[in-house]
Amino acid sequence: MSDRSLQAQNLHLWRGDRHVLRDLSFGVEAGECLLVSGPNGTGKTSLLRTLSGLMYLEGGQVVWAGKPIRDDLHTYHGELAYIGHEPPLKLDLTATENLRYWIGVRRRLSSRDIQGALDRVGATRWSDRPVRTLSAGQKRRVALAGLILMAAPLWLLDEPTTNLDTQGQQLVSALIADHLSGGGVAVAAIHHDLGIAAPGIRRLELAGE
């Protein structure tokens, strides 16, 4: 538990000729959630993709549990749950099938695990219909079920409440609060504040150029 700590050290990131992240440093410890806000185009998504190791830094490094992530990216990814803008779902598969194939590549899953996660996000009634027939909010809930199933200590979430109604937004807040109380770490890019009822909420505002 005590080795759960994400450190960003002097991050410099360029996208084309835009200096998106300028000497950014912060730390997030177990039980803490960093909410990253800022106008569009200020690099919230780029920051998350950098923290996940998908983007390469021009300067600085990301450290998880005391080790630079570049030292062992595979292990780091095993402890990381990254949910981007669009839920990575196949339209021709059902929600259940999508979860089995998506998360099953990372972990051994039983049908009970999948069903449990779908129940938690309120997807039980429509989990066996092709995802093509689901609304954007329902797809987002399936992605949240995937997040639960990944059972990862570090969450990187890019605007997790997109397309969700009030109930859905409360679900996201509850999931993050549970995650934090279990000693998890989270970084979330947000547009508006998440009303998370938990200690350990920190904020970071990214300013534009």
């Binding site: 998908l54 595979h74 990254y82 021709d92 194939y101 051994r108 996660a117 938690r120």
Partner: protein, 234 residues
């Protein structure tokens, strides 16, 4: 319902590859139209040769090896367009890259499934096309063997170009252009092996060379594709 405990058992690479294969097969079954197209294209191309060149049996027999392999190469190029395309668009590839599993291994599983659905059927259709162009029945085993090995090589070689052209808007003819340098030798050796098989001579020499390309493909292509995919995700 409780969430699973945080320290959860990791999936084994074999199980992960199995799931990649299972998902792609299931999706192919539900979207059959996409997968039939390259095969129909092959049939059309090989049918055009007697119409465009000459219906005379001796001439047809002479061009049969080239016609079959040109058709196979073009069909393979068409099929490669959708090897990674859908997964790249909906974020599946991104999740593979973040899964903690070897991306090289997962892409090999994906390419193998793609070959099963696009290359292997070619090995069934190619001898039929050759027979319709006047090849003797005795040449069928040789043609099937050559197309099986050659199509494996084409799928793997092509997967590199398919990965490199991800995220390139309106890539158009870029994938064929990138594939051509390495796939033309496959075409040449494959056509030669087919020609020898039709002439009832030993075709082992070009077959070994085809095999060399296939082995080179299996060992290097998934590695190169994984690097190309990671670049596209940046």
């Amino acid at each position: 319902m409780d969430a699973p405990p945080v320290s959860a058992p990791a999936g084994s690479p074999l199980a992960a590859a199995g799931l990649v294969v299972a998902r792609d097969l299931k999706l192919a079954f539900r979207k059959r139209g996409q997968w039939i197209q390259p095969l129909i294209f092959f049939a059309i191309v090989t049918a055009l040769f007697p119409l465009g060149i000459s219906p005379e049996p001796s001439k047809l027999r002479a061009i049969a090896p080239g016609a079959v392999w040109i058709g196979a190469l073009l069909s393979s190029l068409l099929a490669l367009e959708f090897l990674f395309r859908d997964d790249a668009h909906d974020g599946t590839l991104e999740q593979y890259a973040l899964s903690g599993q070897s991306l090289t291994w997962l892409l090999l599983a994906k390419t193998a499934t793609h070959w099963l659905l696009t290359g292997l059927p070619l090995a069934v259709m190619a001898p039929l096309a050759a027979l319709s162009l006047g090849a003797p029945i005795g040449s069928v085993p040789g043609i099937v063997t050559a197309v099986v090995i050659g199509s494996v090589a084409l799928s793997l070689i092509g997967s590199i170009a398919a990965a490199l052209t991800l995220g390139v808007r309106r890539s158009g003819a870029l994938l064929p252009l990138l594939t051509l340098p390495l796939s033309v030798p496959v075409l040449i050796f494959g056509a030669r092996a087919t020609e020898l098989a039709i002439g009832a001579e030993s075709y082992s020499a070009p077959l070994y060379l085809l095999g060399a390309f296939a082995v080179l493909g299996v060992t290097l292509a998934p590695l190169a594709s994984a690097v190309a995919v990671r670049i596209s995700l940046e």
